[in-house]
């Protein structure tokens, strides 16, 4: 199994509070991604990174920010959590973007109350 660890695995937070999710990889892959998964929507890209300090927005980036200061870590921050951000969040990695296999973490279930 690819070495991807997401933390925390579960979190309940209150509306308006900041939340940071962490993705850690041991594969030294260049690309890292954050997705959210909601019923009927499959996986929707929030942000992705193609190298240290190199990031780009996905289709649902509003209300989220990311940082990648080291190859192995990719952080997702919800600046002020809202109930619409209740979701399951997946981190993924790949060697060469969408042309190679994506390996996924086990997901973080976030509930905003």
């Amino acid at each position: 199994d690819a070495g991807i660890t997401q933390s925390p695995r579960h979190k309940v937070t209150e509306t308006g509070t900041p939340v940071t999710l962490r993705c850690h990889q041991t594969e030294n892959h260049r690309y890292m991604y954050w997705y959210r998964q909601d019923p009927g929507h499959g996986l929707r890209l929030i942000h992705y990174s193609y190298g240290v300090k190199d990031t780009d927005k996905g289709e649902v980036s509003d209300g989220y920010s990311v940082s990648r200061s080291k190859t192995e870590d990719f952080l997702l921050t919800l600046e002020s959590a809202t109930s619409s951000q209740t979701s399951v969040y997946f981190c993924a990695i790949s060697e060469s973007g969408g042309y190679t296999e994506a390996f996924f973490g086990q997901g973080t279930r976030l509930t905003v109350v």
């Binding site: 929507h41 996905g58 969408g98």
Partner: protein, 108 residues
């Protein structure tokens, strides 16, 4: 708006039946992948198709990439309860363009 639409969204069938899942787009992709996701887990790659018209077989699963590289299908023969899961197609680029998903339940 998602680039890739999958149909059907939900499918519930009896063990032993055949089924086909479709993945359609108005965009051309240089390659397309299929993933399966089980409850509580992340998606896992099943196959990558690259050439228009390509057909790949993985045991009872047959994957086809459309000639125009805009669509793909997944056919499962004699479905088994172990095939239950969410099936996702994904088009290639700097990122992965995931489809809306098909949730398959195979009833014993």
């Amino acid at each position: 708006t998602q680039l890739l639409e999958q149909s059907p969204q939900f499918l519930s069938i009896q063990e032993g039946e055949n089924l086909t899942v479709y993945c359609n787009s108005s965009s051309v992709f240089s390659s397309l992948q299929w993933y399966r996701q089980e409850p509580g887990e992340g998606p896992v790659l099943l196959v990558t198709v690259v050439t228009g018209g390509e057909v790949k077989k993985l045991k009872r699963l047959t994957f086809q990439f459309g000639d125009a590289r805009k669509d793909s299908s997944l056919h499962i023969t004699a479905a088994q309860p172990g095939d239950t899961g969410l099936y996702l197609c994904a088009g290639s680029g700097n990122q992965f363009y995931f489809g809306t998903g098909t949730s398959l339940t195979v009833i014993p």
